[in-house]
Symmetry: C2
Subunit: 133 residues, 2 copies
């Protein structure tokens, strides 16, 4: 049931737009964060750090809902529903540097904390909907 | 258990920032939309139209989760959890005009559809969290 990310939806993910990530807590209530986002092949990539609540939510329930607005015109956005396909430390440091380049124009992610363990999360989209124009 | 909206959180709601609204479908999965937002006294105000899915979700489950980013710096946002306190047609047309003034600088909401019935939704916040800076 994988959905493809193409056209305007892909452009929004590739652009310097922020991603609203909705995960579910153990009690079934949604938890929203805003974060950077990236797309690679058929998957959406997010990056976080161990100890944060939302990757933990995803380990309990791998379903995830994303909204990525066109930051210059938030009447347009892409809405995705999917599942975690991969959750790894491998390549996660390089990946946060790539996101820092995309969003900040910096070669190295400047907010790294001592002892921080980065996590790269790949999401397989099941539904992709482009809203507005 | 009402929470107050004050300081920077209130400024973000008063500013020309968009609101991510998370509601729950009957099957418990979250549904996200981006919309205009307003604050009046202790309540958050949203405006929608009959026939849309998210106000219907709120009639099934009045719990709602909001994220309002600083659109000029989305590393800062306010996250609210609350419940629908009022869901009314009364004053809803005037209220969408007020939002059009805030977001578009127009006296009248320009996207009104023929036969559209506007709905004003007031939310009583139970948790208000300011994130980032």
């Amino acid at each position: 049931m994988a959905a493809t990310i193409e056209g305007r939806s892909r452009e929004l993910l590739e652009g310097k737009n922020f991603c609203l990530v909705t995960t579910l807590r153990k009690d079934g209530t949604p938890f929203d964060v805003i974060t950077w986002v990236d797309v690679q092949d058929s998957r959406v990539l997010l990056n976080t750090a161990e100890g944060r609540s939302w990757p933990q939510n995803l380990r309990n329930d791998p379903r995830v809902w994303l909204v990525v607005p066109n930051m210059e015109n938030p009447y347009e956005y892409v809405r995705l529903a999917g599942r975690v396909a991969e959750d790894t430390h491998e390549g996660a440091d390089e990946h946060i540097d790539k996101l820092a380049k995309k969003y900040l124009g910096e070669d190295k992610y400047p907010f790294r904390q001592e002892g921080e363990v980065r996590v790269k999360i790949a999401i397989e989209p099941e539904q992709v909907q482009h809203v507005g124009q």
